[in-house]
Symmetry: C2
């Protein structure tokens, strides 16, 4: 399972699986507890009467009749976490007098109808959202609906505009790796961007060079029993390392995660993480070291992510790279069906252990684990970026620091002339959707203003179109 | 089942069910025998390894490398029948040096994986077509793909452009009742247009008046045993009529079918049908009659459809309105799942027996027959006409004589400025897709020329867009 594992970050994120690592914002929580349940078809594509209950958070504080809807297309996790970490939605809602809705993705959080992922697909989740919104539009006086989401939620925001343009007037697809599929991008992308983020700190390129050098050191020292004990002591692991892959897998995830969460201000997930954590990590790696000193420095740097305030007794590396308890995780299942996300590294233009992406191996793992046959070309057929060009009204935003940006829509010719694109130079994973913060770079403040202006235009266009329809 | 039955025309069309009544053209057959089999996912929306074999007809006589594809989105019947009756596709193919493809709809013809309609939906059929075309595009040098189809096939042509604009550059949706759903049109539409077609023949409005008057006569005479025998003798039924609904259901289907097939030249289906058959039928109904003479006249008029050359020994009305053998027909199943098509009549602005559309009854019938729960709002959510406006490049054509036009897109404001519309004054059900015929009205000749010109533009635009993509 090793090749799959990095795409899920499961080792670190615990119950929150998938692309996203979430950090609670202080402002959100009180507004993310107003739950209701929406009952819809368990299988939207057959016609029996089985149902599923989906959780929905609504927030009507700012809503005025006829106002727009800002709809968060929930992704791989409990919906309150996305609600708590998407402060931009509340800030925009106040400006627009919008109804705020956050809808949970089926098979995550508390919207789980069975333990077998039987009807877990993006198509079903999109149909959940569309059904909810269709009924909302039929039964209330809401205005146009704007979808938004980050990461996989951003993919879903783009997809729902693509598949239900009658329901969604426009979308913000924040840090959405809509091209992160075989044949559509270079599988080395994720690690290359991570490396760039580490090489561009004040510490200089030596930071990335040290990490690149560390793999051989770990491998060499870990090649014998005494060395494994030494590694375990250095990294304060709870159990003695039996295979160096336990450590290298973990560290690769840590570096990727640090780049994803390289926010300008402190965030809180596994303990406290400081602002600009990659800079902080690289402060420990800012010069050349001998072997043992390098390992110590790597340990210090990695702890910026998982033990910054020093409260952790020991590091639990879990069952290692092939931990069997990962088997039935829902996001892992999704990567074994329609979302084949390829990762690879060459160790030259990136600072990671060289690895190849082999679809046959990947597929065999999926068959063994879930009995599923992943379809590597399906997103290109069904969730196609060229098609998004034609439909328009999708904002593609990406953070230059964020490894997932490697699978995003990064230039205007890819996006087409109807989809605005934004690259946030000092942006990590969907920074733009977070609450305003005094430490935000000026660029993200400006970008959020532009989002509001674009959304206002979409709403005006949609209202105009509705009026013309009524006049027929 | 009576209320459902009229929507399927099953009583008349035998093994060809659904919206379409097909008449073989003379030119087509030799080119409609080049079958191959495409193997694809039985369920495109789960990820197991079950497969389905779909029949495909290809015709490469006119194709030159890099040329476009004209792709017929097969509808509810054996694919060779659609191939044989879509001569326009061959004529256009010759002009465009196109590859011609006709793909069978799953669960029809010989593409039937099981007897339970388990994976029979339009979404699955569209995914069959998309998968085939995606592989064709990956593995060969074909140019842009234009989809076309008539009736339900026309709906599918519109839908595939809507859902897979990355694969389909444009579509001709001929006589496609894309709005023939609850809440989207007046359920009296089908019978009103039929009535208009009958009232506008040289015989004058008396033709429709006679038909309207006939129902009371049939009911009155059929109210006793002797009268039922008399009706049976008059209409030369094989068995004595036990319920006048057997006869009135049949006649209502005949009138609707005659209007659908009101072509300017003879066609051949159940025996020979003359050119302009509604005119011919109305010649028998061109003056006021007494009761018995009216029944005779109605009998003569109806025979224009099913016994024009007089070879039929007796009229088989089958098991009547509730014939149980209709239960597992595939199209009937589709009307009991995602395509709820409402019919009703007021007997005033139309010449039919007054009837209401009651969704609760309709639904209960579906539950009883198939165990399915039809979703009346689903097409508006998933196959939405407003969404087609946004995507563009869909030709909506309708025949003014054709009852199905009542559920079509008939004006430019409904179609939007990116979708051309055509109304063919003397056109019956997708006349425009048939082979050229010396008796064709000038308008349909002109319309076909315009289709070619529009398709050329779509192809040029798509090639242009491909070239820009490659230049990135």
């Amino acid at each position: 399972m090793r090749k799959l594992r990095i795409s899920t970050f499961l080792g670190l994120v615990g119950s929150i699986s998938g692309l996203d690592i979430l950090y609670s914002e202080n402002d959100g929580s009180p507004y993310c507890a107003n739950f209701s349940t929406f009952t819809t078809e368990l299988d939207h594509f057959s016609f029996d009467d089985r149902k599923i209950d989906i959780r929905v958070i609504t927030d009507d504080r700012f809503y005025k009749p006829g106002g727009p809807v800002l709809f968060y297309t929930g992704n791989e996790g409990a919906i309150e976490l996305f609600c708590e970490n998407t402060g931009f939605q509340r800030e925009a809602g106040e400006e627009l007098n919008a109804k705020l809705i956050f809808m949970e993705h089926r098979y995550y959080g508390k919207s789980i109808p069975d333990n077998n992922n039987t009807f877990l697909t993006a198509e079903q989740a999109l149909a959940d959202y569309a059904d909810y919104l269709d009924q909302l539009k039929r039964n209330t006086d809401v205005g146009p609906v704007i979808a938004l989401g980050g990461s996989y939620g951003g993919m879903l925001a783009a997809y729902i505009r693509l598949k239900y343009p009658n329901i969604i007037a426009g979308s913000i697809a924040a840090s959405a790796p809509v091209k992160f599929f075989p044949g559509q991008f270079d599988c080395r992308g994720f690690y290359r961007v991570t490396t760039r983020t580490f090489a561009n700190t004040p510490a200089g390129e030596v930071c990335a060079d040290n990490i690149r050098d560390s793999w051989a050191v770990i491998k060499q020292i870990g090649s014998h029993m005494v060395g494994k004990k030494l590694l375990s002591d250095t990294f304060k692991t709870c159990k003695v390392i039996t295979d160096t892959a336990q450590l290298t897998d973990f560290l690769q995830e840590v570096w990727g995660s640090l780049a994803m969460m390289d926010y300008p201000y402190p965030t809180n997930f596994m303990g406290d993480v400081p602002g600009w954590p990659v800079n902080k990590a690289c402060e420990h790696l800012d010069k050349k070291y001998g072997q043992m000193d390098l390992l110590d420095a790597v340990h210090q740097a990695a702890q910026v992510y998982y033990n910054y305030t020093g409260g952790m007794d020991c590091l639990d590396l879990g069952g290692g790279g092939d931990a069997p308890d990962l088997g039935y995780d829902a996001w892992y299942y999704q990567t074994c069906t329609e979302f084949v996300m390829p990762f690879c590294a060459d160790g030259k233009q990136d600072m990671f252990l060289p690895s190849e992406f082999n679809f046959d191996d990947y597929k065999q793992n999926c068959i063994n684990t879930f009995g599923t046959y992943p379809r590597k070309d399906w997103p290109e057929v069904y969730f196609n970026v060229e098609a998004m060009k034609q439909i328009g009204n999708i904002i593609f935003s990406n953070g230059h620091l964020d490894p997932w940006s490697s699978g995003g829509v990064l230039n205007q010719s890819e996006a087409g002339d109807r989809n605005p694109i934004f690259i946030i130079d000092q942006g990590a994973h969907h920074l733009d959707l977070r609450s305003s913060n005094p430490l935000d770079p000026d660029q993200v403040k400006e970008v959020r203003k532009q989002y509001l202006s674009i959304i206002r235009q979409w709403i005006a266009d949609a209202n105009q179109s509705d009026t013309s329809d009524r006049q027929l």
